[in-house]
Amino acid sequence: MEFSELIRTGRAQAELLRGPEAPPLRGTLCVTSHHLLLSPGTEASPDLWLLLLRSVDSIEKRVAGDSGTITLRCKDLRVLQLDIEGVEATLDIARSIEGLRLGDAWHFHPPERYYQRVARETNAWRLSEVNEDFSLCPSYPRALIVPRSVDDHALARSAGFRQGGRFPVLSYHHAPNGTALLRSSQPLTGPQKRRCAEDEELLRAVLVGARPGARGFIIDTRSAQAAKQARMTGGGTEAKAAYPGWKRLHRPLERGRPLQESFVRLVEACGDLEQSMDRWLSRLEGCRWLEHVKEALSTACLAAQGMEREGACILVHGAEGTDSTLLVTSLAQLILDPLSRTMDGFQELVEREWIQAGHPFQLRCAHSAFSHARPKHEAPTFLLFLDCVWQLGRQFPLSLEFGEGLLLALFEHAYASPFGSFLCNSEKERGLCEVRTRTHSLWSGLNQPKEQRKLRNPLYALNPLAIWPSVEPQSLRLWQGLFLRWTRPPEPSETAWEKVWQIVTDSEKTEGSA
């Protein structure tokens, strides 16, 4: 289908209101296949205003007299209002946007970094191409890192024992003490308490590979009761007797619809500018978002602590192993690994632990907080991850090489993007859609020199230690840069950021010349 068929009206005269702080824009409104354009009249500034149609989360139209109003609520939480001359024009433009914002994706591109570094660090692990054709696990990438002593045949058996074929694979190798962080999905023990010798052997090999006599912890991101209940539907959790040396811990994390609802309620509360302090605080409490932040961070701390302080190996899984599991493994790496806190390392982490690891972005980020559609698979797990990273950055202002700008960019691109990186739900789907040959990678977009000042942290200094965040509620803060982004003027913080950059560059110059 050609997108142009969906365009009903080419252009109309309109006024755009972008929030309480920004001045209104007047001009000619155009709808193209992918964008909404507003070109101001000759007297105003010549800048073109542009909106990606796919970033529209919900659309509302109203007509009165001979003009109409369209309210666009965007996935990046912006609320825009268009006052359009002419009833017909308003309805046509609304219909065009409605038709086009759901249109198929078009631009895509290949991810590139794989498991190079992990493979360089250790000999106990090998790169297996057992999933070459995605037959073992449709949501894993082609290549995976597994214990050297476990052959592909055993991997296949283990995959058969895990939901969706997600057998335990290496997520992070902690070089200082040789411990390993692994992730998988739940074992399919079922009501009969089935076992799988190869799966047990795989986990035993992990302990042996780390250090003789090493211990391990299995962090289950569900409550003990939920894990037990999962047996009725064929899932379950590792039996103690079957995995000697491994100890199971339950740390329930919220997922799915409750998490989405929490997000929706938070955004609602943030959008209400006329409320008393008490009402604001009770809404902030009632939406429970910061509680989820706290739980995610403390579970990640537990995993990191197990590795760094106890010298134990860690396996993380929930049910499917594509959401809260990734949240915990990726955060634990940020806490432990100084390399993952660099600009390149963090991008690699997102690519490896979220995109390649099969977080279903297409399903989870189909709608953001404003959509009226009934949520099906939507959940802001990735956003929760970004919020946790922001909290780390706030508590350790010098330890992350990237700034809030990168986190905001990742949030935006996860929900709507002209780049292909976050498209589809898994590597397999990305292969089928030819994402890599037909689109551009977000990383090459972000790493252009002109973007750097917005994304990088000017104060960064390499911190070789683990960063242990405080997870007390007193220490956690609302991420204002995201949730209040469109309701308060951005200039003060932007110019302050720019000024810090300037001071840092100037002082580097004088040091260089001295």
Partner: protein, 515 residues
């Protein structure tokens, strides 16, 4: 020194407040005339000024010793374990005595010696010259003049000697008005906005129980209004919550009713009945809630605005609840936020900010002069006037300007620092974190406008330390008159110096001077 029985205790443990599993440092505890000092085995020193101690508590004896918990006015909490109970008891008793002095002469400032000679010390006191500051604002001018009415503190003991009033207000009018206002605190100039020719004035509440009108007070208000050539009307901001107004009304001691009376009598000379008063009071309350008032034409010259800032007692208990919530370890997010909410602290902060914003807008947008008052005019009024000026004038956002602002609106106008901070052993009901709230409001502004301030958080913290430390003379006493007597009494030994830190420490390096 007579309070000190034990000067040194060894093998004392200091619990690590960051650790979750009760780790501790072992070291030696020293008790000096001014400080409690702990030196741990790594030779790291922890100094606690006696004046900073808000409370000392001796807990039940444990196997490892006798726990001693010290809470400080700068919100620090230290937890010692003293091996022998007798030592602990001695220290406990000494600290109780030392932290609550009965006389000003025993405060640290009178013994503190920063190695300055007399001329340097005098220079310190002359660092900030309020006459200079009024000159900067552009007064005296054709509408405002310096009044010598209070030169000898005859009219108002808690005001400074130099006061600025409208040029057309004669001395009899000032004297008359001061008799009508609580503690004689009649309306005077706090800040003059040169571009808008509008003024911030401050006073205390009109005296209740007065049945007659006070012509002089009416004249003075009219004079303030007329001193603004641009705008015909002015605002009277009552910073107290209106539900309290209502309850005052009920007990017949209502000052609101007086306000209604004045307002109606100033601008129209009609007689009003009781029911009339009640109607207008309710109408005022309604208008404050944004419901409007149909008969506004009668009040075209004076507009009443209520902003609900609670009194010192509410603020004191709010802070207590806040500290309790903040100090609890292992809270869930829900418990923390409901605790934060029920403490009401942020609600009070917002009320102060809202009032200051209203004040600044009245001047910037409407060009109107504003008269601010609460009950006595030295707590809420100081908060609102100083914060409003800070919003309006970038000078107050510099290091020097901020000190000037504190000297003017807080120290000179008689905020009772010694009572509010509990410098001496006195009425605990007079202690209240009013100034702390002002500092927090400023901190919120620095967060929202990171480039608008010359100073940073460290500067605000340092000032907060020193309002309690009694190390310098600035914050001693409750008003200028008392402070002058203190200086005589102490043979002028107090030194004055607000900031003892190197400048680079408290300077906001990303400041944009144009903001």
């Amino acid at each position: 020194m007579e309070h000190i029985r034990t000067t040194k205790v060894e093998q004392v443990k200091l619990l690590d407040r960051f650790s979750t599993n009760n780790k501790s440092l072992t070291g030696t505890l020293y008790l000096t005339a001014t400080h409690l000092l702990f030196i741990d085995s790594h030779q790291k020193e922890t100094w606690i000024l006696h004046h900073h101690i808000a409370s000392v508590e001796k807990l039940a004896l444990t196997t490892s010793g006798c726990p001693l918990v010290i809470q400080c006015k700068n919100f620090r909490i230290v937890h010692f374990i003293v091996p022998r109970e007798r030592d602990c008891h001695d220290i406990y008793n000494s600290l109780l005595q030392l932290s609550k002095q009965a006389k000003y002469e025993d405060l640290y400032a009178f013994s503190y010696n920063p190695k300055q000679n007399d001329s340097e010390r005098l220079q310190g006191w002359q660092l900030i010259d309020l006459a200079e500051e009024y000159k900067r604002m552009g007064v005296p001018n054709s509408n405002w003049q310096l009044s010598d009415a209070n030169r000898e503190y005859k009219i108002c003991e808690t005001y400074p000697r130099e006061l600025y009033v409208p040029r057309i207000a004669s001395k009899p009018i000032i004297v008359g008005s001061s008799k009508f206002r609580s503690k004689g605190r009649f309306p005077v100039l706090s800040y003059y906005h040169q571009d808008k020719e509008a003024a911030i004035c401050r006073c205390s509440q009109p005296l209740s129980g007065f049945s007659a009108r006070c012509l002089e007070d009416e004249h003075l208000l009219q004079a303030i209004s007329k001193a603004n050539p641009v705008n015909r009307y002015m605002y009277v901001m009552d910073t107290r919550p209106k539900h309290r107004m209502q309850s005052w009304w009920d007990t017949q001691k209502d000052i609101g009713r007086i306000i209604v009376r004045i307002s109606s009598k100033i601008w129209s000379d009609e007689r009003i009945t009781e029911s009339d008063e009640k109607k207008r009071l309710n109408a005022m309350a309604n208008r404050a809630a944004g419901k409007g008032y149909e008969n506004e034409d009668n009040y075209s010259n004076i507009r009443f605005q209520f902003v609900g800032i609670e009194n010192i007692h509410v603020m004191r208990s709010s802070l207590q609840k806040l500290l309790e919530v903040n100090g609890t370890k292992g809270l869930s997010v829900n418990d923390f936020y409901s605790g934060l909410e029920s403490s009401g602290w942020l609600r009070h902060i917002k009320a102060v900010m809202d009032a200051a914003i209203f004040l600044a807008k009245a001047i910037m947008v409407e060009n109107a002069s504003v008269l601010v008052h609460c009950s006595d005019g030295w707590d809420r009024t100081s908060q609102v006037c100083s914060l409003g000026s800070l919003l309006l004038d970038s000078y107050y956002r510099t290091v020097k300007g901020f000190m000037v602002l504190i000297e003017k609106d807080w120290i000179a106008f008689g905020h009772k620092f010694s009572e509010r901070c509990g410098h001496l052993d006195g009425d605990p009901k007079e202690v209240s974190p009013v100034f702390t709230q002002f500092l927090e409001c400023v901190w919120h502004l620095t967060e929202q406008f990171p480039q608008a301030f010359e100073f940073n958080e460290a500067f605000l913290l340092q000032i907060h330390e020193h309002i309690h430390s009694c190390q310098f003379g600035n914050f001693l006493g409750n008003c200028q008159k008392e402070r002058e007597e203190l200086k005589k009494l102490s043979n002028a030994k107090i030194s004055k110096q607000m900031i003892s830190l190197p400048r680079s420490y408290y300077i906001q390096f990303i400041r944009n001077p144009r903001l």
